[in-house]
């Protein structure tokens, strides 16, 4: 039992936006519920109205648009992971969604919920940031688009206004397999990421011509690491280059987050995860 809550079930996006505007902070959008229901059991919020979004079928699915993939905010992780379009053209996102929680969680939890919850270790967020994806955000006041990297401001906080809803993501398409995602958990099954990384790498004539790299659980928020992207761009697509990028990210982590109790573990682990994700996108086998 989630104590003291009310539930509203808007039937259309317009209804949902009106309801969101009326309720303001007295309402919380409920997508898959795999984070929110746990939170509300731990910290009850009597009087809260849950806006169950599950009737908004228009916000589910994946389709190709001009140069991007449209991914509805209510698409469950499992559907994102299985989508042939996402697997081919935004591989990092398919991998990330396929590694979220368990089958049960992937069947309910949604990509929009993953972003709105804004956990610092959210696999979906890292992949979306690495791919340079934009979120389409709406309210009764209108619609705006912003980078997912800018929407997720800090742990468990987004830049969403109290009357706004995430409707969809626009993910720039990449060449087949040109993006990758790697997660390091305490074990393989049902583990929350200790560190995750996503990247896009384009290689021409043996050299990296374009690189986007994002890491989660490493800095206070999931973000791209431009210093590492710059270090890789123009360099040969090799094990050494990937390792150098890992060094840059580990250094940035200590600069930004300081030396913490976890640093002796995280430094070498971050190096390895970053190198691995870059090699995977380059299509190169990890060297010794």
């Amino acid at each position: 039992m989630i104590p003291g809550v009310r539930v509203a079930r808007p039937a259309t996006i317009q209804d949902a936006l009106r309801m969101r505007a009326d309720l303001g902070l007295a309402g919380r959008p409920l997508a898959g519920g795999t984070d929110l229901l746990i939170e509300l059991r731990r910290r009850p919020a009597p009087g809260l109205t849950l806006m169950d979004l599950s009737r908004l079928d228009d916000l589910r699915g994946v389709r190709a648009e001009d140069g991007t993939l449209w991914v509805g905010a209510l698409t469950p992780h499992e559907d994102v992971a299985r989508s042939a379009l996402v697997r081919e053209r935004a591989t990092a996102l398919a991998s990330a969604c396929g590694e979220v929680g368990s089958a049960q969680v992937r069947n309910r939890g949604t990509l929009g919920g993953n972003v709105a919850n804004a956990s610092p270790c959210a696999d979906g967020v890292t992949a979306l940031v690495a791919l340079g994806a934009e979120a389409e955000v709406a309210s009764v006041r209108g619609t705006r688009r912003l980078l997912v990297e800018d929407l997720v401001e800090r742990p468990y906080r987004t830049g969403l206004a109290p009357d706004e809803l995430i409707l969809a993501f626009h993910v720039p398409v990449q060449g087949r397999g040109a993006s990758a995602f790697v997660k390091l958990g305490r074990r393989d099954a049902l583990a929350i990421a200790r560190i995750n990384a996503g990247c896009v790498v384009e290689v021409a004539e043996g050299r990296v011509v374009r690189c986007l790299l994002a890491v989660g659980s490493v800095m206070p928020r999931t973000q791209r690491v431009r210093e590492a992207e710059d270090a890789v761009t123009g360099a040969p697509a090799t094990n050494d280059t990937a390792r150098q990028a890992g060094d840059v990210v580990a250094r940035r982590m200590v600069e930004v987050s300081g030396v913490r109790w976890s640093t002796p573990y995280k430094e070498p682990a971050v190096r390895a995860v970053v190198a691995r994700v870059l090699l995977r996108a380059m299509g190169i086998r990890e060297g010794p």
Binding site: V5, V7, R9, L37, R41, A103
Partner: protein, 163 residues
């Protein structure tokens, strides 16, 4: 779905092939409705944070943690629980395989395991051992060590495919 006095909500869902109309509290979970109101206690209450999988049921063809679904969210849905597996007193092939392979020890995880396996085989009738492991990764078992369960699911799949 209409709002009733005292904030009760009317829902209608199909459970194991039977249509059920119920007035539920907005904060009531599908798990609580199945166990408390419909007395379908095969579905177990475990961790209530989506980690143990003891409460797994099949909702519109997908394995879900029923502790993390509000009953109102299941309005209009089709739910299959462990009680819906046997037909006319005959165990489902998955249930038989679990017994034959020693995949049931204390039994607490078994209903959830069966439902995860059932959802898997509906989607992938010939799964690899890895696919089985992946499908039951959200179901904890502290007795069997999992191997017997994986063997049972593969055996049930093999049997279904050869018949």
């Amino acid at each position: 779905m209409k709002q009733l006095p005292e904030d009760l909500v009317s829902i209608r869902l199909t459970v194991n092939g039977v249509v059920r109309s119920l007035d539920v509290h907005p904060g009531e979970t599908l798990l609580e409705v199945l166990r408390g109101r419909l007395r379908l206690t095969g579905t177990k209450r475990g961790c209530e944070v989506g980690e143990c999988g003891a409460c797994t049921v099949v909702l519109d063809g997908r394995a879900v943690n029923s502790c993390l679904v509000l009953a109102v969210q299941a309005d209009g849905a089709e739910v299959l629980t462990v009680e819906g597996l046997a037909r006319e007193g005959a165990l489902h092939p998955l249930q038989r395989a679990f017994l034959e392979h020693g995949a049931v020890q204390c039994g607490f995880c078994t209903p959830g395991m069966l439902m995860s396996a059932h959802a898997l085989l509906a989607q992938d009738p010939s799964p690899t051992p890895d696919a089985v492991r992946r499908a039951i990764a959200g179901n904890l078992c502290r007795c069997t060590g999992y191997q017997a369960i994986v063997d049972a699911v593969l055996a049930a799949a093999g049997e279904a495919n050869s018949s």
